[in-house]
């Protein structure tokens, strides 16, 4: 079937305004009479607040108010519900907001925060989740039993455990006994920041009539409203959340934000609008970041390579607050099996509080973590068994239509073609074909593979909806809530609408502002779900609108509805293209020559609701958590400098079974973007803490990010289109997936070629250099000889 828009490389529809610098972000907005807020944050990691003296701060000209936690003791959150608006009685990390200064200018507010005197009585601090788990560990959350948490999670009051997820399938002990090879390995990941361009910033206006207006740089409007409504007790329809263009999110703008706090500040400041803008420093110390983690894994394989038993314990270093990380902990847990069929599996995933910066989701939502462990286990087992890494994968891959995932969900027949993913990956990277020798003999070249699978980590009832409104000229306003922060989803959704109505793309418009009052509802813009869930809702809205149009046309053209079609903006009778009505003559109602009219303005509505997903059993983790699974793989060919520990990716291959390519240009951009972010997190990114819990690299000069020179030299992206029958045109989501495989593929390449295990992220030069010296001193010595031995003897006159 040929399409006019679907499958075409249409440039992103917001590109023009963005590259001309004229797109409006929350950061750009100012409201009349607006005040500025600045947070006073803790300088100690764990302490009781003895006294907060705001008198000196109030003396700064322009300061309107200083608000402390005790004045507004609201508890906020979505999943764990563990956070106070501002610290009350106790601070739990360096960077914890204890007060907020509200002033006429940002300058005054920034001056005044230095003059808020907080007296602390320090408590011992816990920086390692393994310490936090010890029976005698001090409690970071003393009132955990009071928290209003979602039923999907299991906090354990009296401990530092914010969520305990367990999954049991088969008999793992028996599985180990029946295995020929059992490995035990451990892995670690450091905290990372999302590093989006636009820092978190919010404007709130708490009107005198009780209505609260919010402008925020966030991924989606609905959760902002939901958190505010639940936490502050304001009715939903009195909270209006608006999100204009957003400068990046990557999961960091999905959970709990600052909106409830800034709304309260607006109220406290006499109902004037208040704006809070975080600095980049605060992004590294006060906003939530991606958690660190430890994993302890044991895996049993049979001689023939069959993955027989897997037991893994994930310990997430969630920091001081874990509102969203409890769900990341759950997702790490139920994605532990990746894309392999493992009959016996035991998972424990603990989300643990420490006295560090709070944490939240980051692109991949636990899946990069579980795959970092699993995909390396596979290669280590392959080496022990003497089986090729691609072969052991081929043998253990799930079979859609037959296999069950570790949550006991039977994979649907049309879930994708993992074998084809693997084969394409292996072919494109030239697996089995040795790399060329590097020109410098102290370097080695190597290839590594990693597969992955992911679906949205969402509640079972996460819905979406769409409203489609026709204008007089048959142009369309598409009212959707899915966020637009760089993914390209909205362009793809517009293509679908244009395609279905046979209208030029210019006739379809999605406003750049998302608005709880005006946009249709969608649960969230996370988990690579937007195209799938909102796409389905839009297709249903299109069907609804078409039905209204055909009902009128059928009467006008005196022809049954099923004999009508929509072509090039006209309703035509099939086979008789001369019997037609232009759309603009119908969409506001059809008017006969005498003025009699029928129909009326056409408004289509559609919803997405998953009917087969369930909560997971609290003891066994069994159930159906996911609306789709996208399979994919990453392979890299890299060059490792044995002397410096530097890794350069020469070639990266990414294969995704995404069902249907709606827009080849945007999917390519997503793939490249994911590979870049994946490379950055694999090789460079790490938030470092000193012994007092202070972040020591809260800026881009010492928090390393990938630079242009560090990017993969060559990128090959291949897409497999095994349609998911209920997906829009068969499509599945891929936004997060593009970065999951990078880290394990790099580690596997190095392990396969020289046997060096890299257990922690980031694999930065110094870490790799140490690992090489410890594990392969012989190779390093050989490389050193090659580097420092010169054939040519040059003499000089002395």
């Amino acid at each position: 079937m040929s399409f006019k828009y679907v499958g075409k490389p249409i440039p992103p529809q917001d590109g023009f305004l963005k590259v001309t610098g004229t797109a409006t972000y929350t950061f750009d907005l100012e409201l009349p009479g607006m005040l500025y807020a600045k947070l006073v944050t803790s300088t100690v990691p764990h302490a009781r607040i003895k006294k907060i003296d705001v008198s000196r701060a109030l003396g700064v000209p322009g300061v309107v108010r200083v608000v402390t936690g005790k004045e507004y003791p609201y508890r906020v959150g979505m999943y764990a519900g563990d956070r106070d608006l501002l610290a009350i009685d106790k601070v739990n990390w360096v960077g914890h907001p204890v007060a907020a200064v509200i002033a006429e200018t940002l300058e005054a507010a920034e001056k005044a925060i230095d003059l808020v005197d907080v007296e602390y009585e320090e408590l011992p601090a816990i920086f390692d989740p393994l310490e936090a788990l010890k029976p005698d560990a001090l409690l970071i959350h003393e009132k955990m039993e009071e928290y209003r948490h979602s039923p999907a999670f299991k906090p354990i009051p009296g401990t530092n455990i914010a969520n305990k997820f367990t999954l049991v399938r088969g008999d793992v002990e028996k599985g180990f006994r029946e295995s020929d090879v059992v490995l035990e390995e451990e892995f670690h990941i450091s905290h990372v920041s999302h590093c989006y361009m636009e820092v978190q910033n919010v404007i709130a206006h708490y009107h005198l009539d009780g209505t609260v207006e919010i402008w925020t740089s966030w991924q989606n409007v609905a959760p902002v409203r939901q958190i505010m409504a639940l936490s502050l007790g304001i009715p939903h329809n009195k909270i209006i959340v608006r999100i204009p263009y957003v400068g990046g999110g990557f999961g960091g703008k999905a959970g709990l934000g600052w909106e409830a706090l800034v709304a309260i500040l607006s109220k406290a400041a006499g109902h004037r609008p208040v704006k809070l803008v975080l600095s980049r420093k605060e992004q590294f110390s006060t906003a939530a970041v991606r958690e660190g983690f430890h994993a302890f894994a044991k895996a049993g394989f049979k001689k023939d390579g069959t993955f027989n038993a897997y037991s893994v314990r994930f310990i997430l270093d969630a920091g001081a607050y874990a509102d969203y990380t409890v769900n990341v902990g759950r997702a790490v847990g139920y994605s532990a099996d990746g894309c392999y069929e493992i009959p016996n599996i035991n998972v424990e995933s603990l989300t643990v509080y420490t006295n560090k910066i709070p944490t939240t989701a980051l692109r991949g939502f636990g899946y990069p973590e579980s795959h970092w462990v699993l995909e390396q286990i596979i290669d280590r087992a392959a080496k022990k068994l003497g089986i090729d890494p691609s072969e052991i994968r081929r043998k253990n891959l799930v079979k859609p239509g037959h296999s069950h995932t570790c949550t006991g969900e039977r994979l649907r027949e049309d879930a994708g073609d993992p074998q084809k993913v693997l084969k394409t990956l292996v072919d494109e990277i030239g697996w089995g074909k040795p790399s060329e020798n590097p020109p410098e003999p102290w370097k080695v070249r190597a290839k590594g593979l990693s597969l992955f699978v992911k679906g949205p980590a969402q509640p079972p009832n996460a819905a979406a909806s769409a409203i489609l409104k026709f204008n007089e000229d048959a142009s369309i306003d598409l009212l959707i809530a899915t966020g637009n922060f760089g993914q390209g989803t909205v362009t793809a959704l517009m293509q679908i609408v244009a395609e279905e109505f046979g209208l030029p793309l210019e006739k379809v418009r999605v406003d750049y502002v998302r608005d709880t009052h005006k946009s249709a509802y969608t649960w969230q813009t996370v988990g690579s779900r937007g195209l799938f869930t909102d796409g389905i809702a839009i297709l249903k809205a299109i069907e609804d609108a078409k039905n209204q149009i055909f009902t009128v046309a059928s009467e006008v053209l005196r022809c049954p509805k099923d004999q009508l079609e929509l072509v090039d903006g006209e309703v035509r009778v099939k086979g008789k293209p001369w019997e037609k009505i232009p759309l603009q003559d119908i969409v506001m109602g059809y008017t006969y020559p005498n003025g009699n009219s029928i129909g009326g303005p056409v408004i289509g509505r559609g919803v997405f609701m998953s009917t087969h997903t369930t909560y997971l059993d609290p003891d066994t983790g069994q159930g159906n958590p996911t609306i789709f699974h996208t399979f994919g793989g990453t392979a890299v060919e890299l060059e490792l400098d044995l002397l410096t520990g530097e890794i350069n990716i020469l070639k990266a291959v990414e294969v995704l079974d995404l069902g249907k390519v709606i827009n080849p240009l945007l999917v390519k951009q997503q793939t490249h973007g994911g590979l870049i972010m994946g490379t950055s997190i694999s090789l460079y990114e790490e938030i470092k803490f000193d012994e007092r819990g202070w972040v020591v690299n809260p800026n881009f000069t010492s928090y390393y990010l990938v630079r242009i020179k560090d990017l993969p030299r060559e990128v090959v992206a291949r897409y497999i289109e095994t349609p998911q029958l209920d997906g829009p045109y068969g499509a599945r989501g891929i936004g997060e997936l593009t970065m999951i495989g990078v880290a394990p593929a790099i580690a596997n390449a190095i392990y396969n070629s020289i046997g060096v295990k890299l257990d922690r992220l980031p694999m930065n030069p110094e870490y790799v250099w140490r690992a090489l010296r410890e594990q392969r001193p012989d190779l390093v010595e050989e490389a050193w000889k090659r580097f420092s031995k010169y054939e040519k003897i040059v003499e000089v006159t002395i």
Binding site: T43, V44, E122, D690, E691, R692, W694, V696, S702
Partner: protein, 145 residues
């Protein structure tokens, strides 16, 4: 960072102890002190002007007594403070020993500096903190003489 030092003063141990254990007296020996207060529990809060290279800033510092043993002439203080976007925290231990007629003051400090100052100039800070402590004890020595 940890560092220690010793110095001898020509004064009797109880006289030295009385001086050392009186925050009102010691505080005046802190170089750059601008403003201070002492409460009944000997908790000191002070404003200190600090210049390290071309960086100049006001530090708000406080100290409290962790341990005081007049029999063994041992005192231990906790120090915290912040300024120029940075913070410090540490302990100072002071021990007096009688050396016929004179008194030896031995000190051991363990101070950690966090924030931009700490990462920018850690090695330099060591020298700076050492200099401050030395100046402080020099002053103590003079006052006692």
């Amino acid at each position: 960072m940890k560092f220690e030092g010793k110095l001898a003063v020509q004064s009797r141990i109880d006289k030295v102890w009385n001086f050392i254990s009186d925050p009102e007296k010691v505080i005046q020996c802190i170089p750059g002190i601008e403003d201070y207060s002492v409460d009944e529990e000997k908790r000191v809060t002070a404003k200190v002007k600090v210049s390290i290279g071309f960086i100049k800033g006001i530090f708000h510092a406080s100290s409290r007594v962790l341990e005081e043993d007049p029999q063994r002439y041992i005192a231990k203080l906790n120090l915290t403070g912040s300024g120029a976007g940075s913070g410090f925290n540490g302990t100072v231990e002071i021990k007096l020993t009688s050396l016929d007629g004179s008194t030896q003051i031995a000190w051991l400090a363990d101070v950690n500096v966090s924030g931009p100052l700490g990462s920018l100039a850690k090695p330099m800070l060591e020298g700076y903190v050492r200099r401050i402590v030395e100046q402080l004890f020099d002053c103590v020595k003079q006052r006692l003489a």
